[in-house]
Symmetry: C2
Subunit: 306 residues, 2 copies
């Protein structure tokens, strides 16, 4: 069985003010051909085009909070989806007030979308399951920022156990009993013999997961919500030299992001949401890697596969 | 006397959906070091950076109407101006409802600007003087689109008459009498002789003007409001082959834009607001130039000087 896709495309990695080379926050996550857009800063629709991502395949948009660099691209994206003929439902996950903003804009521009737009409100006080289908589940995570903010944890559901086909062919087992094997139970062959599950099946590939944590100050409790995650995106607006500024603005440093990766035992860390004051991002990597070696920068256009 | 600046920089020329190469509507007009931003589609702040225009020198923003491709870049621009340390007042001209939208966004994102933001409401029923200083005046122009829409006419005020310094030096005239000459009156020299204005002064350079007309269907009455304009930007969302679609959506064709240029006796026409369906824009130029030869395309990054 070939592994299903689990790919993250970085569309923007800038903090509040975009620079000549960096757009505000936006990411596109593909898990098994579900396309999840995470945050939608100004210009996201242009970035989606630039990187030739699948525009209309996005059915779910997750907004972390209502600072402009995380959602000012949303009204334009919604309009373009409409103009390009979308009819499929689109679901937006985010703070309740986002719906009020979008509705007011649509009212004053006399806009009617040709597709159903549904809002699912997030709350930032506890971890919550907010999306689920047969293969994937998504949780919102409380973060600590200046306004109500949630991170998101995307996780594959456990896959069925793999049956050893060579061993199975030599046995005489009904379809009903094979299903039992797949879900981890023992089975009985057509002669009445018990077949132990562990003799005939193998562990499925581990469920993969991705945690998006932006914007937030460093706080230890977050590690519990993202324990053992395969890929962790953690904001690092500043370098350690500006840790007072980070504290004051409820942001994190590269060092703190690395500390969170270590604390949560994440398998890989990617840094983003870089302040416009930094031209060269090399220092972010050096600072974080001194604590957590498996660190990369969320450079626009990069794809991280698990 | 050297001529003062009168320069238009094109920042975006796309219609509703941006393409890989074209951003939505935005233009930056410099008249005598007043920087007027005209419309502000999504991504305008990135375009301003790209073309190294003077970000914080913009003190006046003119919004034509509340379709997203003409103002979705405004919230992000306002935020970046704040974050980059602006303290000078910014005035926004546009429909009343724009203020409601901006205020709601600021409320929910807990945003307080460090500079005064003032709104001047436009109405789309008659031509109206909405801005004036000692050198420049700006009028809003009623356009005919699906929602309330105004164009804008930017005009230098008449310059004072130029005095022939060589002739003046040979005469014996007081400062008070020289002022009379400048404003077109006759003067009297220190010996009581009358000096005819026409003997000593020359016509000043003609007042230059620019008319921005987007979005609108073609309607003849517009020509009266922009008669003799030096530079006319007229939307041409479609080619003539799609004139029914243009009529239906209250837009214009390249042919109609050229007809408006001819009717208003504009000195030069620039076309813009091209539908995303057109990759190559050559056809727009050919169609318009067959009626009105002094036509150019509003290609991003181009500067039109008068």
């Amino acid at each position: 069985m070939s592994k299903q896709a689990f790919e993250l495309l970085i569309l923007g990695s800038s903090a509040a003010t975009p620079t000549a080379n960096r757009n505000p926050t936006a990411q596109l996550l593909n898990i098994a051909e579900r396309f999840f857009l995470i945050d939608c800063g100004e210009g996201t629709q242009m970035q989606i085009r630039k990187y030739k991502a699948r525009f209309q395949s996005i059915n779910h948009i997750f907004i972390s909070h209502l600072h402009g660099d995380h959602f000012y691209g949303l009204p334009g994206l919604l309009a373009s989806m409409h103009l390009l003929g979308r009819i499929n439902e689109l679901v937006i996950y985010g703070p309740k007030e986002l719906e009020e903003i979008i509705h007011l804009i649509h009212k004053h521009s006399d806009t009617y979308l040709n597709y159903p737009l549904k809002f699912v409100y997030t709350q930032s006080t506890s971890k919550q399951l907010i999306y689920e289908d047969e293969k994937v589940e998504v949780f919102s995570l409380p973060l600590k920022h200046r306004i109500a903010t949630t991170g998101y944890l995307f996780r594959e559901k456990p896959l069925p156990r793999n049956i050893d086909k060579y061993k199975l062919e030599k046995l005489n087992v009904s379809f009903a009993e094979i299903h039992k094997l797949k879900i981890g139970m023992d089975a009985i062959d057509n002669f009445g013999n018990t077949i132990k599950n562990s003799d005939l099946t193998m562990e499925p590939p581990a469920s993969r997961s991705y945690a998006f944590c932006s914007d937030t100050k460093f706080f230890e409790e977050l590690a519990n919500d993202i324990k053992g995650v395969d890929l962790l995106y953690h904001e690092s607006t500043f370098l350690d030299e500006k840790k007072d500024r980070a504290k004051q603005t409820f942001h994190s440093t590269a060092k703190q992001a690395a500390e969170m990766a270590a604390l949560s035992k994440a398998k890989k860390l990617i840094l983003g949401h870089f302040s416009a004051r930094y031209g060269n991002l090399e220092e972010f990597l050096i600072e974080a890697q001194s604590i957590y070696p498996h660190t990369e920068l969320a450079v626009e256009g990069l794809v991280f596969s698990i």
